[in-house]
Amino acid sequence: MMRTVALGTSTGLHMRAAATIARAAAVLGVPVTVRVPGRPPVPADSLLALLTLGAGRGTELVLEAFGEGAPSALDRLADLLERDLDAEGAHG
């Protein structure tokens, strides 16, 4: 199944925000991929791969996952991606 979200982090998917997403994705139990429309998908639990998406605030991101647990996994990541992670937690 698939879900489309607009990136909410105000400064884009930089190191710290990408690390937050990758950390969350790693414990979902279901592989999730992320892509910018028209480009190949990357694993959501790879910090480095997320960085190289080059996504800025408002960039559309397509999440995909399959099988049991996919809906809740997509809910969890979509929620994080839509939030402004910069406005939360410590700066770095």
């Binding site: 400064t11 884009g12 930089h14 190191m15 710290r16 690390a19 990758a22 950390r23 990357v42 694993p43 639990d45 790879s46 910090l47 480095l48 791969a49 960085l51 190289t52 080059g54 910069d86 410590a90 700066h91 770095g92």
Partner: protein, 543 residues
């Protein structure tokens, strides 16, 4: 008596202790054939686990949340699945573990550099990951600060500003570097912490075995290797006694000519216990050197307010972000330059990112309005009068009335009079002015003689600025490290410099030195130094 090594004394005091070497990043051995791919993959897995655990434990021990967060992200990067998958593939293609790591990280590194902007700034993080993983695979020490479990003398080729900023004076007794110079960041940060330091000591010091007792004399520049008979080993850092009187009496000559003695600081913490008339150089970039994104206005206002509160009723000169060259700010670094010292640094960054400067000026203005400190701002790396004029206009639009320009570029020094038609004051940064006037990299130990602040040509440039200020009655200060040398401070006063800004702990000695001389004596010292043929003669002439 042990072997004597000779370098340049960069921060005074003498101490004896065991030497420990900061390891260099490891080099790759020549490639060989893979005989057991599973064993190579296991080498990678071991390295990843060990390096990740090491960085995570540092994050737990880090004193502040920013450092801890940077280290946690770095730990995540070490174990990134894309990297691990690709390294496994590279091993399958016949590369040994260290070479597979190197190849995979090199390809991601160049992808980040090509992407530019903030992503390019992340290349350094990948380099650190590569160095640590390869070091573990090869079984060589990690290139991190030694942790012998007791106070020690740090020996290194050079220490990066980020490492140097983390030096803990309760653990590090002294610093000795094979490269570096009096004005390198190693030296500046060591002086700020009161650590005896010898730089430009040459390669021989790197051969000293870990644990060997060395005596470091940061005043004479001598390093004695082996058991030193003359002095017993001491286990605690020396306390440098200030000769001057306590309190914050204004600096003045014996006959009462005021010479303001101000502090160079990077954050409010450095003002603890400091008796200064004010702050002559607030290096704002030090607050945000680990930020991957530009600091928010709120964060900036809080950091500036903390300093202004400490300095209530006193002057504070805030220098806008001085990024670039040897102190890159990740959020300001756009791309790789072939020659960063001559590239987009200091005020020049505003050519590309005017938003960062305007945000900073607005934040300074808010913090200034809410405080009783006498706040002024100055720009680093001003080169032309037009640049100074447009900076001044931005500041005044932001509500900051008193504006200055740093003089670090010779082109600015020779137009000092014209600069003072558009700004209210000048502040001479002697370290960079030396580097640019003498075409000598400030980290070069071999060229340390050219970077000597007593070089008559440097004194001439300072004199030019001071005379331009005197002609129109505007202040001209010096905020380079050279201001912390008592004899040199006397010369600067004699040249007509109106304020001296330095590491806080140096102020008491400078106050005492100025109080011993009349203004006429200072002027005679300045003339003698200017007339001298070389630095040694200039020093001798002043006595």
């Amino acid at each position: 008596m042990g072997e004597q090594l000779r370098g340049i004394g960069a921060s005074g005091g003498s101490v004896t202790g065991p030497a420990y070497r900061l390891a260099d990043p490891p080099r790759l051995p020549p490639p060989g054939p893979v005989t057991d791919a599973a064993a190579e993959r296991a080498r990678v897995a071991d390295a990843v686990a060990a390096v990740r655990a090491d960085i995570e434990s540092r994050a737990v021990r880090a004193g502040d949340p920013t450092t801890a967060e940077i280290l946690r992200v770095q730990a995540a990067l070490v174990a990134d699945r894309t990297l691990l998958d690709e390294i496994a593939v590279a091993i399958g293609e016949g590369h040994q573990a260290p070479h597979a790591i190197s190849a995979v990280l090199a390809s991601h590194r160049s992808a980040l550099i090509d992407a530019g902007g903030l992503l390019a700034a992340r290349a350094a993080d990948l380099d650190d990951v590569r160095d640590r993983l390869i070091a573990h695979c090869l079984g060589v020490p990690m290139p991190t600060l030694p942790q012998p479990g007791h106070p020690f003398v740090l020996v290194a080729v050079d220490v990066s500003p980020a490492d140097a900023a983390l030096l803990d004076p309760t653990r590090v007794l002294a610093v000795v570097t094979s490269a570096g110079s009096f004005v390198s960041h190693t030296a500046i940060l060591a002086r700020a912490r009161g650590l005896p330091t010898v730089v430009a000591c040459g390669g021989a010091v790197l051969e000293v075995a870990d644990g060997t007792t060395v005596t470091v004399d940061g005043t004479t520049g001598r390093v004695t290797v082996g058991e030193a008979a003359a002095e017993p080993p001491s286990a605690v850092p020396p306390v440098v006694a200030a000769k001057g009187a306590p309190g914050c009496d204004p600096g003045r000559t014996r006959d009462g000519q005021p010479i303001a003695l101000l502090a160079n600081i990077g954050s409010a913490d450095e003002l603890t216990g400091v008796a200064a008339e004010g702050v002559g150089l607030f290096r704002t970039e030090m607050l945000f050197q680990h930020h991957t994104v530009a600091p928010s206005p709120e964060e900036q206002i809080a950091a500036y307010s903390a300093v202004f509160r400490e300095m209530s009723g006193r002057p504070v000169i805030v220098r806008t972000f001085d990024a670039g060259s040897d102190k890159p700010l990740p959020f300001l670094r756009d791309n790789q330059e072939p020659n960063p010292a001559l590239g987009i640094r200091g005020l020049r960054v505003a050519r590309r990112r005017s938003d960062i400067l305007s945000t900073q000026l607005a934040a300074i203005a808010v913090a200034a309005r809410e405080s009783e400190a006498k706040v002024s701002v100055m720009a680093p790396m001003v080169t032309t009068v037009a640049e100074a004029a447009s900076f001044a206009a931005l500041c005044r639009d932001a509500g900051l009335a008193t504006v200055g320009a740093m003089v670090e570029v010779p082109a600015a020094a020779v137009r000092a009079a014209e600069l003072l038609q558009v700004v209210d004051f000048l502040s001479v940064g002697t370290n960079d002015l030396s580097q640019y006037a003498f075409a000598a990299d400030r980290r070069s130990g071999e060229l340390a003689d050219l970077l000597d602040p007593w070089q008559p040509a440097l004194l001439s440039l300072v004199a030019l600025c001071a005379a331009a200020g005197a002609a129109v009655g505007r202040p001209v200060g010096v905020c380079g490290e050279a201001a912390a040398d008592p004899a040199f401070a006397v010369v600067l006063a004699g040249l007509g410099v109106t304020s001296l800004s330095m590491a806080p702990r140096a102020i008491a000695d400078i106050r005492a030195a100025l109080a011993e001389r009349s203004m006429d004596e200072c002027r005679r010292a300045a003339q003698a130094a200017l007339a001298a043929g070389d630095p040694a003669a200039a020093r001798a002439a002043v006595g």
